[in-house]
């Protein structure tokens, strides 16, 4: 597989970096591949723009960053405006339609996943990122569902494990329904 570049952007507190870390942990420790994850964020404790980047590859990775994203996930309008140019021509944009508008000219390659709304229905808006990970698992098949759930079990506090796994299943179901 060619190196795969994923960008995630939003504002602080949405779990942007955690999402990238869970994804990276899944492909490296369970999928036995290589990954590099970097991030940038403002000095605010919460809020402020936040961006994470993940490169996945079958081989060791040199360059730690790419301006040619295969997937860009955007959960905040101003973050999308800033990072949209990093999406490559045939790349896929994933947005939460409650938070971000589909940019003009991107209609045919934008996927709308109402992750925040779905998370609120599940009882906690913080699991929106897990819904997105579930969605990505089903849609792009970069990692297995079992590996993802395994990592969530290892890294989430005990009392939130079930909620997070439920959110992953919701994301998977949404992707199945869509296709």
């Amino acid at each position: 597989m060619k190196p795969y570049n994923i960008g995630l952007c939003g504002f602080g507190g949405q779990g942007i970096i955690l999402t990238a870390v869970v994804l990276g942990t899944t492909v490296v420790t369970k999928g036995n591949r290589y990954a590099v994850q970097t991030q940038s964020y403002g000095s605010e404790a919460r809020g402020g723009q936040c961006q994470a980047e993940l490169i996945i590859s079958d081989n060791p990775i040199n360059a730690t960053s790419s301006e040619q994203k295969d997937i860009l996930i955007a959960l905040f309008q101003s973050a999308l405006d800033k990072y949209l140019p990093t999406l490559k021509e045939e790349g896929t944009l994933i947005i939460d339609p409650k938070l971000v508008k589909v940019p003009a000219g991107y209609e045919d390659r934008t996927i709308e996943v109402p992750a925040t709304e779905m998370a609120v229905t599940l009882g906690n808006r913080l699991v929106a990122n897990m819904i997105l990970l579930g969605y990505m698992q089903q849609r792009f098949n970069l990692f297995s569902k079992e590996d993802l759930i395994e990592v969530v079990k290892e890294s989430v506090p005990e009392k939130y494990i079930n909620l997070n796994i439920k959110a992953i299943h919701e994301g998977i179901a949404y992707a199945k329904k869509e296709s």
Binding site: V21, G24, T25, Y34, A35, V36, Q37, P60, N62, T64
Partner: protein, 384 residues
Amino acid sequence: MSEKKAYQERVQSGVHFMAGNYATVEGAIAAGCDFFAGYPITPANEISEGMSKRLPAVGGAFMQGEDELASIFAVAGASLAGAKAMTATASAGFNYKQEGIGYASAIEAPCVIVDVQRCRGENFASQADVMQMRWGASGDYETICLAPSSVQELFDYTVKAFNLAETFRNPVIVMSETTIALMRERLEIPDPKDLKILNRRYTHQKPGEYMTYKANPNQAPDFAPLGKGYHNLYSINPHDERGGIDWDPEVFDKLYQRITGKISENKDQICETQSYHMSDASLAVIAYGSEVRPALDAVEMARAGGIKVGLLKLVTVWPVAEKQIKEVASQVSAILSVEMNIGKYSREIERVSGGRCPVHYVTKNKGSGHTKEEIYQAIKEVWK
């Protein structure tokens, strides 16, 4: 994640997805570190935080000093008491460490100092402390400094740093960078049996026979175990073999010849480099630390376009790998020296090359590393 694994184990063998600062912590713990003192500063804080969790779990001690000076001197003291000791800081804090590094060098206290280089005042990427690593303290001394370029190498070179510190009884600096310290990457921690760990070398002589600083020329003396009746004085002042302060010019000269000679005369044993695509190269890129990554990409881009270029990666930045750099300078028609500062180490490469070939400075000081395209462009221009 590694946090779930038994913390009592020093070596967290297995495949991890870990940030560079935590890989530094795991390297130190695996190498047998049992004392850490530090003072908060970004982007080195995860090292202190990780040490504060890991050290108590393996029976070591963690100390937050009131400042950088207290921390480095506590490290020197702990080292004399028998500990494998480490401190970590970032550029602005590294300034304050210099007095302690000078002291630890003079009394030959093995210890490891991690400098996570950043741009002045902010968490932007930089390699601008490369000269301070070598020349920061006053007086005659030598430094060993290793430059990792990945999360894996932060682990590997931290282990190596502890081993070199014990071998040469000298401070060893791990030259980390914002880039790799805050990045998460695949880290494979080997089985404990596959890790080479060197421990403290103690004297076989009895109290009375033993002299604190008696050693062969260009070698480090053995330690005396603490609390076993040996009397030791560790002074930064010129000292004779017994450790007594002595201002005799001959004593002074002999001491500093040995303290510097144990590093400078054993350079070939210490210095490590790695070569990529060098066998038929008529151009060479020389890089260290995180800049090795885009440099290797750029070399491979140029190779695909028919340019015979190779890469020499400096694992050891200090002492200078003179033998390897001279060999490269004799082989190629030009060297491109790549670094993330205004062009500091390039002068060392120029000095060592000694006119065998021209040295082109490829430098950047904008808070981010070179892109592969930038280095590729530089290669193309020199190749013309």
